[in-house]
């Protein structure tokens, strides 16, 4: 396809957007769309004459692909939980459920992308930069970590907050300190706590309460465990597959694991962070099991790995390369502490029903410190060699 019809069309309208053209103020936007359609014809002019085929767009596309199983399972579960709540005879694997979930989840995805990409485009335009691809991933993650009953305007507001305050003021993709998607959730959590916790927010329609059958509990397994209702806990299989209430994309550990395999196999996600995160979570779980003074502490440590947002956070959030530790040794420490803190906060802090979000944001702050010590160790080794 060296000179297809689409290319001819793009070449024809291109001068309009270039310097001196009528619409030159939209140059970044045009470039964004052009490079979306075509890998540009730029050739190397310094350094290495050949380059790896990988680029930021491909990288982000792979991550989005890795998230797709979680999206689909989230849609299925949205429908399933809704039908359960209104007392219909529901099965998880049903087209009706998927369709219902699709209609409910898509608006979140659309709003998240529209707001986030809108801001990205505007900022790129103002700065005269190329458009950064970072939000392609954030945009799909945001809808997956919020409860299904969150109003759309809140999603829009939180996304705008996260993109502007969390990313653009630091200089855009690659410069941010906090994971953008998690910042969205943190904003919602602190600004609208009643929409972010409780037993009635996880299932579509339950907040309004229309048609919900008597005695139906929308509580997540974590909430049940915290309340000591150990009899209400779902089976391990149900938690693993994701037949449980929770944020849209976090419920199915299986789907998240498929994503993890994609990220690790392609070499795009850090297996070191994922592995050490799981190890850290398990370690804290075991420690709590040993003391086990309340019901939540009695939850077997490996159940914790499938409850709440732990798997989703460790696989898709903690591995964000910009906000994680950047040195290889640092990644082990960072991942381990994310897992450790997530379970610690989850179990021991009564104010927060889930600890993953705070654990990762907290470790985002400490990642540079971890890296600092790794770098210092490298420097010291060199100095020691000099003295020897």
């Amino acid at each position: 396809m060296k000179n297809g019809k689409i290319r001819q069309l793009v070449d024809k309208i291109k001068p309009t957007f270039e310097k001196g053209g009528k619409l030159s103020f939209l140059q970044s936007t045009f470039e964004g769309f052009e490079t979306f359609l075509f890998v540009p014809n730029t050739v190397t002019n310094k350094g290495s004459h050949i380059r790896d085929s990988i680029d930021m767009k491909r990288t982000m596309a792979i991550v989005v692909m890795a998230v797709v199983p979680a999206v689909l399972m989230g849609m299925l579960n949205t429908g399933f939980q809704h039908f359960l709540s209104i007392g219909e005879d529901a099965t998880f694997w049903s087209w009706a459920g998927l369709w219902y979930g699709f209609l409910k989840v898509m608006p979140f995805i659309i709003v998240s992308y529209l707001v986030g990409l809108g801001i990205e485009f505007a900022v790129a335009q103002v700065k005269g930069h190329e458009i950064n691809e970072g939000f392609l991933v954030s945009g799909i993650l945001i809808p997956l970590i919020i409860p299904i009953d969150t109003p759309l305007w809140m999603v829009a507001l939180a996304t705008a907050f996260a993109v502007i305050i969390g990313k653009e003021i630091f200089g855009g993709t690659g410069m941010n300190i906090f994971n953008v998607a998690l910042l969205t959730r943190a904003f919602l959590f602190f600004a609208y706590p009643s929409y972010m916790s409780g037993d009635r927010i996880w299932i579509d329609g339950m907040l309004q309460g229309d048609g919900v059958i008597d005695g139906f509990s929308g509580a997540t397994p974590l909430a049940e465990a915290a309340a000591g209702n150990m009899d209400n806990l779902p089976s391990v299989m149900e938690m693993f597959m994701g037949y449980i209430p929770g944020s849209i994309g976090e419920t199915s550990t299986l789907a998240i694991l498929i994503g993890a395999v994609i990220l690790i196999y392609t070499g795009i996600g850090s297996w070191k962070i994922m592995l050490s995160g799981v190890v850290g979570g398990a370690a804290m779980g075991i420690l709590l099991n040993i003391f086990a003074v309340n019901t939540l502490m009695e939850v077997p440590f490996w159940h914790h790995l499938m409850m709440g947002g732990f798997a989703f956070g460790v696989i898709f959030m903690a591995t964000d390369p910009v906000t994680a530790a950047q040195t290889e040794t640092g990644k082990w420490i960072y991942g381990f502490l994310v897992g450790l803190l997530a379970i610690l906060i989850r179990v021991l802090n009564p104010a927060y029903p889930e600890g993953v979000m705070l654990a990762i944001l907290f470790m985002n702050v400490f990642a540079p410190l971890i890296d600092h010590y790794v770098v210092e160790a490298n420097i010291k080794k060199r100095l020691k060699r000099l003295k020897a």
Binding site: F38, V39, P40, V43, I50, D52, I54, D55, R58, Y265
Partner: protein, 451 residues
């Protein structure tokens, strides 16, 4: 056999068009050139004017700051032209060859019996001194310096890399003499890095007083900088010299014959070449006779003096670089690709498995010069580490350079690296960062600061 050093990180890029192990004698060229930009740290000052006659070994220009370093003509003939670029910087000094070749006379004899001064003067006067590259910074060697040791890599692991079994056939005597000469220049040792698992090249075998090291691993295992790092890493204040084996032989021939022998064998390779093979030619030769009828599509190829990761772009009418034993020709990549970033990518080489090309291991790839994406800020991490076999934090070093933090650069090990050692980092970079350019800026800054 001594201990084998395993290089665990790296990447072999198998390109289509490796040179067949056949050597042909190239048609001799009318034009030859010495290109001052090939030499880092050189301020050239001409000592021959256009129109003047030169012999093989006659000085053409010298280093203004260290006038003893001479750059001599590889042929006898007439100095034809001095091509200049911006701010009258000398780019090429072109010499037109005459039919008969006259040679300048230099000292000859067994270097083992010579003093250090005689050996050094002979190299300086003959114009072979610039074959020595000094680390740190990768500059012309300082004639007053005493290197800690001298390193020679006996194999080339780079894409389309040359095979010294072909290039250095029947060079045993010159290699031995060259090594003997180098031994006079250092109190330390002459080290040679060889590839484990291959029969030792006869030319490299049983050299006197040479310490052999065996390396096993992917590119850049053959880079002398990587080898130094694993043999005895450089500390602040250390000076080491490196040479290519072919240049060591040239030095040997100088001492054996008392004349400058500019003949070299190079590989012409790459998917843009119709008959990739080795040719016997001369230093500084014009590429015209080498490439005649060899280019598949002359309009749409890039000719590179050196390998595809570190070489210099040259025109078809241009000249061979001083340090290069390889001419790579690959297709230019100035085309658009519809939805290139979502396609399966069976034909796209990548060190990640983000394209389905991982289904085709062992394939020889045709990679063009397309940048394959846009430049971005650093986003992905750990990519460089996979292809950079040194105990150095590459991204942190680059960031120290970007903010011009001299102390940090030193602490993070800038003395140990040259562009070629980090070239693969640039290749694999998702953000298309200009790694070699940044590193060169850092090296230049450091050199200025320390002098």
């Amino acid at each position: 056999m001594s201990k084998v050093i395993k290089i665990k990180k790296g990447l072999d890029i198998k390109l289509k068009g490796a040179a067949e192990k056949v050597t042909v004698i190239a048609e001799s060229s009318d034009l030859y050139a010495i290109k001052p930009p090939d030499f880092v740290g050189l301020t050239p000052k001409l000592c021959t004017k256009p129109g003047e006659k030169v012999k093989v070994g006659t000085p053409v220009f010298f280093d203004k700051n260290r006038p003893s370093i001479m750059f001599t003509s590889p042929v006898s003939g007439t100095l034809k032209e001095v091509r200049r670029g911006e701010r009258r910087r000398i780019l090429e000094v072109v010499i037109e060859a005459s039919k008969d070749q006259d040679y300048e006379e230099f000292s000859s004899g067994n270097p083992e019996g010579m003093t250090e001064e005689v050996v050094r003067d002979n190299l300086l006067k003959s114009g072979l001194w610039p074959t020595i590259i000094q680390r740190p910074y990768g500059v012309l060697a300082d004639p007053e310096a005493k290197p800690r040791s001298i390193y020679i890599s006996g194999f080339d692991s780079s894409p389309l890399g040359v095979d010294y079994d072909v290039i250095l056939k029947d060079e045993e005597a010159s290699m031995a003499a060259g090594v003997a000469a180098l031994q006079q220049l250092t109190d330390g040792k002459v080290h040679m890095g060889l590839e484990e698992g291959y029969p030792v090249n006869k030319t490299f075998d049983k050299l006197k007083n040479v310490e052999y090291h065996y390396f096993k691993g992917k590119h850049p295992a053959g880079n002398v900088g990587i080898q130094i790092h694993h043999i005895e890493p450089m500390n602040k204040g250390d000076i080491v010299w490196t040479l290519s084996p072919q240049h060591v032989c040239a030095i040997g021939k100088l001492f054996l014959n008392g004349k400058l022998n500019p003949s070299i064998t190079i590989a012409i390779a790459g998917s843009g070449i119709s008959k990739p093979r080795y040719v016997k030619t001369m230093m500084g030769t014009s590429l015209k006779p080498l490439l005649a009828n060899m280019l598949e599509e002359p309009e749409s190829v890039r000719i590179i003096s050196g390998n595809v990761l570190t070489g210099t772009k040259v025109e078809a009418e241009g000249f061979l670089g001083y340090y290069d034993a390889l001419l790579s020709v690959i297709p230019e990549g100035n085309y658009y690709e519809l939805f290139g970033w979502v396609m399966p990518g069976l034909k796209k080489f990548s060190n990640t498995r983000a394209f389905f090309s991982w289904l085709r291991p062992g394939k020889e790839w045709e990679i063009d010069t397309n940048l394959k994406g846009g430049e971005r800020a650093f986003v992905l991490t750990g990519q460089y580490n996979k292809v950079f076999p040194m105990d150095i934090l590459p991204v942190h070093l680059l960031k120290a350079i970007l903010v011009e933090d001299i102390d940090k650069m030193e602490q993070l090990g800038i003395y140990e690296v040259l562009e070629e050692d980090m070239a693969l980092c640039e290749f694999v970079c998702t953000s298309k960062t200009d790694v070699q350019g940044i590193l060169r800026n850092g090296l230049d800054l450091m050199r200025k600061e320390m002098s």
